[in-house]
Symmetry: C2
Subunit: 140 residues, 2 copies
DNA sequence: CAGCATCCTGCGCGATACTG
DNA sequence: CAGTATCGCGCAGGATGCTG
C-alpha cells in the first residue's frame, strides 16, 4: 500500500509561487496527472458524463485496468474526480467530475479538440519534414 | 539516426476520424507531444517569445539536453515549432512557435494557468484525501 | 463487477562523452 | 554554442491471478 504519488521530496511550499516551470513545484505534478497519457483521456471521457469503471475502460481505448485505477486515484486525490461507491452486490461505482474537475476538463477539451481539428495540418507538416530529412541524409 | 517517432504501425488513416480516444489515432501521438512532460513546458516557454537552445534549457527547469532536443524535434516535425539556424560560428539557433503552435500553446497555457491558479484547492483536496486514507488503513 | 497485489519487461530518460 | 552518440538504470505500465 503506497500513498499514490506523495513522494517528490519534502519542500516547504508555503512561500514559493506555484510556477510549473520550476522543478519542485506541486503544480507540475498535478499538471502531469491532468495532461498525462491516461489522465487526459480519462478526464475527456468523464467530461461527457458519469461512468462506471468498466465503462471508462471501454471508452478510453487501450488503457489497462491497473493504469485506469491508478489514474482515477490520482485524479480523485487532486480533487478533480468524485468517486461514488454503492455497497451493493455486485458492487457499483460511479465516477464523475467535481466542479473543479469540470473546469479543468473544459480547458483540456478545448486543447484536445483543437489539436484534433488541425490534424491535417500536422500530418502535412510531418510529411514535408520527413521528406526534407530523407533527401538530406538519405545517401547510403 | 532514427525518424523520431514514425513507428506506431501502418494504419490507413484516410477513412477514420481523428478520435483521440481510439488507440491507433495520429492525434493521440501529437497530443502526447503537446501535453507530455517536456512538450507542455517547452511550448509554455516558447509562448513567451523566441529562444535559443540553452536559454530554453534554463527556462524549462530540469530538462536534460537530450530530452529538450528530442522534444523540439518532435514539435518541429508536428509543425508547431519553427527552427531558425544561422550558420555562423559559434552557431546560433532560435526556436519559435509557428502560427499553429501559437494557437495550440494558447489553449495549453489556459489550462496550465488555470491549474496553477487552483493549486490551493488541489492541495486541500489532497490533504483531506490523505487524512481519510490514513485513518482508515492506519492500523498496524 | 470493481479492484488490489505481484511479477517482469521495455524504453524513457538522465549522465557522460564526443563533434562541428 | 548547439547539438549527436552511447550506455545504463529505474520505473511506467502490461499480464496475470486473487478477493469481496
Amino acid at each position: 500500500m503506497k500513498p499514490i504519488a506523495q513522494a517528490e521530496g519534502a519542500v516547504d511550499y508555503q512561500d514559493l509561487a506555484f510556477d510549473v516551470f520550476s522543478r519542485h513545484c506541486p503544480s507540475r505534478g498535478t499538471l502531469e496527472h491532468v495532461t498525462g497519457r491516461w489522465g487526459a483521456l480519462t478526464l475527456g471521457a468523464l467530461h461527457e458524463g458519469s461512468f462506471r469503471f468498466n465503462e471508462l475502460r471501454r471508452r478510453v481505448d487501450g488503457v489497462s485496468e491497473k493504469m485506469l485505477s491508478q489514474t482515477l486515484h490520482a485524479l480523485e486525490r487532486d480533487g478533480l474526480v468524485h468517486r461514488e461507491a454503492q455497497p451493493t452486490n455486485p458492487p457499483r461505482v460511479d465516477y464523475e467530475l467535481t466542479p473543479l474537475g469540470r473546469a479543468v476538463a473544459e480547458r483540456l477539451m478545448a486543447l484536445i479538440h483543437f489539436v484534433e481539428g488541425r490534424m491535417d495540418e500536422v500530418l502535412e507538416a510531418r510529411a514535408s519534414y520527413d521528406a526534407k530529412r530523407s533527401t538530406l541524409d538519405g545517401r547510403a
